[in-house]
Amino acid sequence: MNQDIIADIRKDHVERLLDEGRRVDGRGFDEYRKVSVEVGVNERAEGSALVTLGRTRVMVGVKLAVGMPFPDMPDSGVLTTNAELIPLASPTFERGPPDEDTVELARVVDRAIRESGCIELEKLCIEEGELVWIVFIDLHPLDYDGNLFDACTLGAIAALKNTYMPKLEDGKVDYKTRTEEKLPVRDTPVEVTYCKIGRHILLDPCLEEEEVLDARLTVGYNEKGEIVAMQKGGSGTFTREEIVDIVRKGREKAEFLRQHIPG
């Protein structure tokens, strides 16, 4: 009960500030927090990235394994995206099987990576119908201060672009020997999230904003600026004009994020 009342008070506060043209952390409405992306941060992963978005920090690891292809795609590699919201990263995260927020996060990040076709999965076939590479993307938030969608997608694509194939011998992976060959990646999708609080539309909600938002819209773009993924969240609504406007202006923000990917 107390938390509920506190949430209402917080919302009033956040919204009142917005009415005055101010955000809780002093940013412009259309401004990202400070972004940084570091790659190759984990020696055990074939590819990795550490993304900092304001105080949100996410580590993404890419692991490769070999296995059976899907029967309907016998000559194509397999992509699997997983997220874990570990209690270390926030007092609101709990141990145990993935809840719906965790599943949504993994699926929305997966959507942009998969639908953009950025991984050349057709090049990951080892023996048709028998053996293909399986790409595991593990999203691992370490410090949760809002907007995991954008941070995780950025981390995922940065890690993928920095993934080196391990050595393959007689159908077995030698994880200790890394080849010079990179995972074939041909596009750089990123996701951009706006939220709506009262009548205001804000880019990149921080935690304080995320906790009181009415609605959220995440849009994934490929390098050409085409839309490859979308997800609306929150119990509130958008007008159609708001949605069209967000999708339009998000494109330039996607380009801004993309510039932070090293290499």
Partner: protein, 242 residues
């Protein structure tokens, strides 16, 4: 090219199932179909067969989930094992968890939950037979079930997808188009205000294509809305006769 992919999606201006670009699959909605539920609806939409049931407002278990300011709306989207070509393992999976969440949020935008603090309103959606577009059929059925249960709402929530197949923007994808098409854009709206309460997309669309598909999906929702209202009207007529 994936196995089973058709060479063309549009032949002589018609889609593979004979529809025009902006035509819905045949849609039939019936309200009040289950005896035990407080409200229910059955939707047949092309090859989709969907039941939705609403129970509540009722006492909430576990009690710690209770909210002192509003009813807790819980939605469960589930697919029967025999609803798809290859048997689906029973029970919730990641896809159904995500769909349950976005469905709940779409419905929360219209239900007056503040009228029933400390209670639960449960909505169960069961996909009995699937032919793509089941989340839209599920939301469409669920909001009729809520209304049928007499839950105060500011509007019904119709849902409909648009997408891109073979380079064309089309309304309401069926399974072949969904599997092999270029994009799918499910949308749910609050018709009286035109607000958007559900929006997802996967595939590839330019800005122009997106705006075109978005408008088309909203038009589709308005057609679905008419069927929803008709179904409720019929259910009440029948009840008044009894």
């Amino acid at each position: 090219m994936k196995a089973g992919e058709p060479e063309e999606f549009i032949v002589d201006g018609r889609r593979l199932d004979g529809r025009r670009m902006d035509e819905l699959r045949p849609l039939k909605i019936e309200a009040g179909v289950l005896k035990r539920a407080d409200g229910s609806a059955y939707v047949e939409w092309g090859g989709n067969k969907v039941l939705a049931a609403c129970y509540g407002p009722k006492e909430i278990h576990p009690r710690h989930e209770a909210n002192p300011k509003r009813a807790v709306l819980r939605t469960y989207y589930s697919m029967a094992p025999f609803s798809v070509y290859e048997r689906k393992r029973p029970g919730p999976d990641r896809r159904s968890m995500e769909i349950s969440k976005v469905t709940r949020q779409a419905l929360e935008s219209v239900v007056f939950t503040h009228l029933y603090p400390m209670t639960a309103i449960d909505v169960f959606i069961e996909i009995l037979q699937a032919q793509a577009g089941t989340r839209c059929a599920g939301i469409t059925a669920a909001s009729v079930a809520l209304a049928d249960a007499g839950i105060p709402m500011r509007d019904l929530v119709p849902a409909c997808a648009a997408g891109k197949v073979g380079g064309h923007i089309v309304l309401d994808l069926f399974d072949v188009e969904d599997n092999y098409g270029e994009a799918d854009l499910p949308v749910a709206i609050v018709p009286r205000t035109g607000e958007i309460c559900l929006m997802q997309m996967d595939g590839n669309l330019t800005q122009e294509e997106f705006e075109q598909a978005f408008e088309l999906a909203i038009k589709g929702c308005m057609q679905v809305y008419e069927k929803q209202k008709e179904a409720l009207r019929k259910a009440y007529e029948k009840r008044s006769e009894e």
